[in-house]
């Protein structure tokens, strides 16, 4: 029991070191450094804003399109970059995995935590945009933010752990993930409002846990409302995904070193 607690504590230190290694290594030789965390979602939002305000106007109610899509783009970017990094985290460090014992979860989890920092940086611009557009604050809703983030983390962990483990056995996972993320992007209400989705498809639409998560972010930040019941569905889905992903990871983790 004591030994296990010590091991966990030490894994905590390793997690911290490995996370900061990922962050530092990523920005070590780049001139713009952490600014890239903002540049990427901003560039995408700029393009979609041009398309969906000038070319094909989309009705986002009384919320300006820029902030409407940026609020969604930031968590989406976090999910997409995390999953990509997590899926490669074991494969890129196979020499370590086959030679030294440490809790294997550290590698994918640290990959996600390193992207969580980018998420934090990009989120600062959300606050700036809210001030600029004078969006009224909704304190009760803000209490929900950690809950929504927690649900998103569970979803990311579940998928990321499974992808990282599966990638050790089949490199197809990497390509499959890129393809999946592209489709998933358009299947989530990031660049268009849910109101454009036909009524009869809505219930299916919310089976995508990211739909509920993104809508919940908009509810508490932009609409001044508490999240709708779809968040509960997202939470349940994410929990299932997390359980399966983690179970799968633990089940195959001792086979990693046997694959040469």
């Amino acid at each position: 029991m004591l030994a296990q607690s010590i091991a966990l504590l030490q894994a905590g230190d390793l997690l911290r070191e490995w996370t900061s290694r990922n962050i530092r290594a990523r920005y070590q030789q780049s001139a713009l450094g952490w600014l890239w965390a903002v540049i990427q979602p901003v560039a995408q939002v700029a393009v979609f804003t041009l398309i969906f305000t000038l070319i094909v106007p989309v009705n986002t109610g009384d919320i300006p399109y820029v902030i409407f899509s940026y609020v969604a783009m930031v968590p989406w970017t976090f999910l997409a970059t995390s999953l990509t990094d997590m899926s490669n985290s074991l494969v890129d460090n196979m020499t370590l995995v086959t030679k030294i014992y440490f809790p294997r979860e550290v590698l994918p989890v640290a990959a996600m935590l390193a992207r969580l920092m980018d998420f934090g940086v990009a989120a600062v611009l959300v606050v700036i945009l809210m001030l600029f557009y004078q969006v009224p604050l909704f304190p009760a809703g803000l209490l929900f933010l950690p809950v929504i983030l927690g649900i998103q983390l569970a979803l990311t962990l579940g998928l990321g752990l499974a992808a990282a483990a599966a990638n050790v056995f089949f490199r197809d996972v990497r390509s499959l993930l890129t393809l999946g993320l592209q489709i998933w992007f358009y299947a989530s209400p990031i660049i268009y409002p849910v109101t454009l989705v036909p009524e009869r498809l809505r219930s299916f639409y919310y089976l995508n846990p990211m739909s509920g998560i993104i809508e919940a972010y908009r509810d508490v930040l932009l609409r001044g409302e508490l999240p709708g019941p779809y968040l509960a569905l997202s939470a349940a889905m994410s929990l299932v995904v997390f359980s399966i992903g983690y179970w799968f990871f633990k089940r195959v983790e001792f086979q990693f070193a046997d694959i040469v």
Binding site: Q10, V97, I100
Partner: protein, 435 residues
């Protein structure tokens, strides 16, 4: 003393090659596997048994070597102990904190500084940040890299990286330490440093499992040894006995290869066979260790099946790890050898022997007159013999031979004709000093 490692009836099976074809196929295979635990019947073509029914125990403070050819299963044993992989059958119990020194500088990132990599590498090895912080100055001092500690390691030389890696590893104080060929890298002084560290850990009660192809080092570090061959334990006992058995097999293996490939053979049966090679001390067959500063002789017994004529002979003195210490050739020394039908003995005197303490053997070959062809089908090989030099153990000295050394010291140059130290030439005057 308590048992810190109990390795019981361990077998480990690896899958060979790509047996799975499609992703869906594998997923269903995994799901099925989780439902019925019993493995399907083993197919010898599809699986490789890396270990078969291996058992051993290690007591606290003991050091054990794993010896065996490449692919015998030594690394698999370490991987199982380090919890990197699971046994197919059997149980492993370990007591206390276990660390593995399998790769120095594991996880080093080239873009990060020496300092950052110390923390990274340390936590990978299972140390806490707090512990590394306390030992940080010590680690840096040990690595002798104070000036470069804020430089990214990609600008380090490979030697510097090894030094930094070892400096971190050296501050581990585990209950059980696994060492795998780490000492193969680095120069002699680095190896010496590592060896010292390992020995001080042993004194503090750490138990060590040691894998190295350097049998000399194995004998210096370990009190017991396990000889593994093709995944099975062949011998478990005192280091010297096990190493001797392993070397014997190695030698036979080498002789077999030599016989098959390297030699141009005479047609049909050999003309002459070496029947025995003996090593004698001053007064006959060596009973105990031969004193390094006294003479010894190597005696080669032969049996010639007919008149062979002019031949030459080569005699090797080999150290137990296979290093050739000396090669003596009749042709080189201008000693003419003519063999006639019958038996005889050829002896070569080494006066004095001048080897450092250790275990050796002698090997002899007959060659044709021009030294271009080996006449005997296999070289004759002596039993092991040990030599007792001035140094009592391996750590006290290094090198291969021990010249008769005389020391002089002059102060203020009153006797200008003397050098600071004088070493006797290898085969010099009759006056030998006893030490």
């Amino acid at each position: 003393m308590n048992t810190v490692i109990r390795f019981e009836n361990i077998s480990k099976r690896y899958k060979l090659g790509l047996t799975r074809t499609s992703l869906p196929g594998v997923i269903s295979q995994w799901l099925k596997g989780s439902l019925k635990a019993a493995p399907q019947k083993a197919d010898d073509d599809k699986y490789l048994w890396a270990l078969r029914d291996v058992s051993f125990e290690l007591m606290q403070g003991q050091s054990m070597a794993l010896v065996g050819a490449n692919g015998a299963g030594k690394t698999t044993v370490l991987k199982l102990l380090a919890n990197i992989t699971k046994p197919t059958t059997g149980t492993i119990q370990t007591q206390g904190q276990l660390s593995a020194l399998i790769e120095l500088g594991a996880g080093f990132h080239p873009d990060l500084t020496g300092r950052e990599n110390i923390y990274l590498n340390g936590t990978i090895l299972g140390l806490s940040r707090e512990y590394i912080r306390r030992r940080y100055d010590e680690i840096v001092a040990f690595s002798e890299l104070e000036r470069f500690i804020a430089t990214p390691v990609k600008r380090y030389s490979s030697g510097m990286i090894v030094r930094l890696g070892f400096a971190v590893a050296a501050c581990i104080e585990p209950d059980i330490l696994l060492v795998d060929e780490v000492l193969a890298v680095g120069d002699a002084s680095f190896r010496q440093k590592c060896l010292k560290r390992i020995q001080s850990l042993l004194e503090d009660g750490t138990s060590i499992i040691f894998v190295s192809h350097n049998l000399y080092l194995v004998q210096a570090v370990c009190s017991k040894a396990l000889y593994i061959q093709k995944g099975r334990v062949l011998l478990d006992g005192e280091t010297n006995d096990v190493v001797e058995a392993y070397e014997h097999d190695l030698h036979e293996e080498r002789a077999r290869k030599f016989e098959i490939s390297d030699l141009e053979q005479t047609d049909g049966a050999a003309d002459v066979e070496i029947t025995k090679v003996e090593v004698w001390g001053v007064d006959g067959p060596a009973a105990g260790p031969l004193p390094s500063n006294q003479s010894a002789q190597i005696r080669v017994h032969y049996d010639a099946y007919h008149d062979v004529g002019i031949v030459s002979m080569s005699v090797f003195v080999m150290r137990s790890d296979g290093l050739t210490c000396s090669m003596m050739r009749t042709k080189l020394d201008g000693f003419e050898l003519e063999l006639q039908r019958g038996q005889g003995v050829i002896s070569v005197h080494l006066d004095p022997l001048q080897l450092i303490s250790g275990t050796y053997f002698a090997e002899a070959y007959f060659l044709n007159e021009s030294d271009s062809m080996v006449l005997t089908s296999a070289g004759g090989r002596s039993d092991w013999f040990s030599v007792k030099g001035a140094a009592r153990s391996y750590e006290e000295t290094s090198g291969v031979y021990e010249p008769i050394a005389r020391w002089h010291h002059q102060h203020n140059g009153l006797q200008a004709a003397h050098l600071d130290s004088v070493r006797e030439p290898a085969l010099g005057s009759a006056e030998t000093e006893s030490r």
